[in-house]
């Protein structure tokens, strides 16, 4: 897209995009560290993640303020309007992803012993998948690649499936030995956090698609977390 007649307008929009790119990079780092911290029970790394989360909150507010000011000053239209609306929404999703990474990191403190191998692999697969989804969706945003966004959107299904199987696995452990319940509950929250991160990456994917095409994704969204139906199993 060519430049605006008013150069300051271009500068404002590119400042928002730069901030968002930084925010995305930081969220990725936070998520990676949170997953490592949990897997290795690295309390120092976990605390680092927790401490840094505030930065993401600050950045989100900054994007919101810049976007609001640009809307007030320039009354953006068409692509520009979508660009700014989408930046606000993506920033909100990234901020939530940051919260969920922080929350995952917090679980590290509650897990005092090494995880059973099967659970560890499941959780680590979920972690890498969530990381990959986040990375891909941020790339899709940077490259303005609607196809890539769509593929992230579709892949969320796998993350959901993995979450459902981990959920089942955790239930089994808890039923086998009530002493596992404490740890398993924390792992369950950890897994749920990763699943929620997946949901936020699909939100971002939807917004990228809208940004590029000016319309929303037409397909039905693949179904999702079915654990609410599974809990009946316990009885």
């Amino acid at each position: 897209m060519s430049d605006h007649i008013v150069t300051a307008y271009d500068l404002e929009i590119s400042a928002i995009k730069t901030l968002l790119a930084q925010m995305g990079g930081m969220a990725e780092e936070q998520l990676n560290n949170a997953i490592t911290a949990l897997a290795k029970r690295d309390l120092v790394l976990a605390d680092l993640v927790i401490a840094r989360d505030e930065k993401l909150d600050v950045m989100e507010r900054e994007i919101e303020e810049k976007a609001t000011l640009t809307i007030a000053k320039r009354q953006p239209m068409a692509l520009d309007l979508r660009e700014i609306m989408v930046a606000i929404r993506v920033a909100a999703d990234i901020e939530r992803i940051g919260d969920l990474a922080k929350n995952t990191a917090k679980r590290t403190h509650a897990i005092s012993e090494a995880l059973p191998r099967k659970l560890a692999t499941g959780l680590s697969r979920m972690g890498s998948m969530a990381q990959a989804q986040l990375k891909n969706v941020l790339d899709a945003y940077g490259l303005k690649d609607a196809e890539k966004a769509l593929s992230v959107w579709r892949s969320d299904e796998e993350l959901d499936a993995l979450y459902n199987s981990i959920f089942r696995e955790l239930l089994t452990y808890m039923m086998e030995d009530p002493r596992n319940i404490g740890m398993c509950t924390h792992l369950l929250f950890g897994a749920k956090n990763l699943e929620r991160i997946g949901d936020h990456t699909t939100n971002i994917a939807e917004n990228i698609y809208y940004l590029i095409n000016g319309k929303t994704i037409a397909e039905d969204r693949p179904k999702k977390d079915i654990t609410s139906m599974m809990t009946g199993m316990e009885k």
């Binding site: 060519s2 007649i5 320039r74 009354q75 239209m77 068409a78 692509l79 979508r82 095409n213």
Partner: protein, 259 residues
Amino acid sequence: MDQKLANSMPRILAHDVNIYYGEKHAIKNLSVEIPDRAVSAFIGPSGCGKSTFLRSINRMNDTIASCRMTGEVLLDGKSIYAPDVDVVQLRSHVGMVFQKPNPFPKSIFENVAYGPRIHGLAKNKTDLEEMVVNSLKKASLFEEVKDRLNASGTGLSGGQQQRLCIARAIAVNPEVILMDEPCSALDPIATARIEELIDELKQNYCIIIVTHSMQQAARVSQRTAFFHLGTLVEYGETNDIFTSPKDKRTQDYITGRFG
């Protein structure tokens, strides 16, 4: 909305219109259907032909010696350029409001009464008075001027003058109201009043407004036409034009990338 507009018969239909000023080709192969009871906005860079096309809808171009036109403009299915068309009569069906308010140097009452009088629309004095009051009411001006109907129209504020001109235009019961940048000389409050008025008038009229304010076009119209270098680039639902226009030239223009 789209369907409702599409299903009703167009009030104005232009077919393959070309307009020249001497050698200058100002409107090129323009065809368009303009729906009734809706506001259409014409936007585009200066000199792209918005006013030229607008004026062809009530034959105001006839008054320009160098101006020549080919193609057809139909009002309710009937050609307005047919030999038997009475231009004065036509202009009572297709009223016009200009950029600069141009009340006659006469009383407020006479400004509005003029049209009905020359078209012989009023049966008697009471009838005429009623028409004037109604038109002033429709133009949301009556309350402000009811105590001084005999004062001069030129003594009103710019925004009031513009509403007086709108009252004058609607006094003859037109079907179509053409407005060429009606708010460009008005402050934001007066502009808001006119926009509010346009919103009300669209229930009964086919309105076309030329405007340089994208925001105004987005606010008041249901349809927007983008003109560029004498061609109609895109004419569609206003909501679509301002969120996701189809043509790159439209996108560039409304986002402030050329003009």
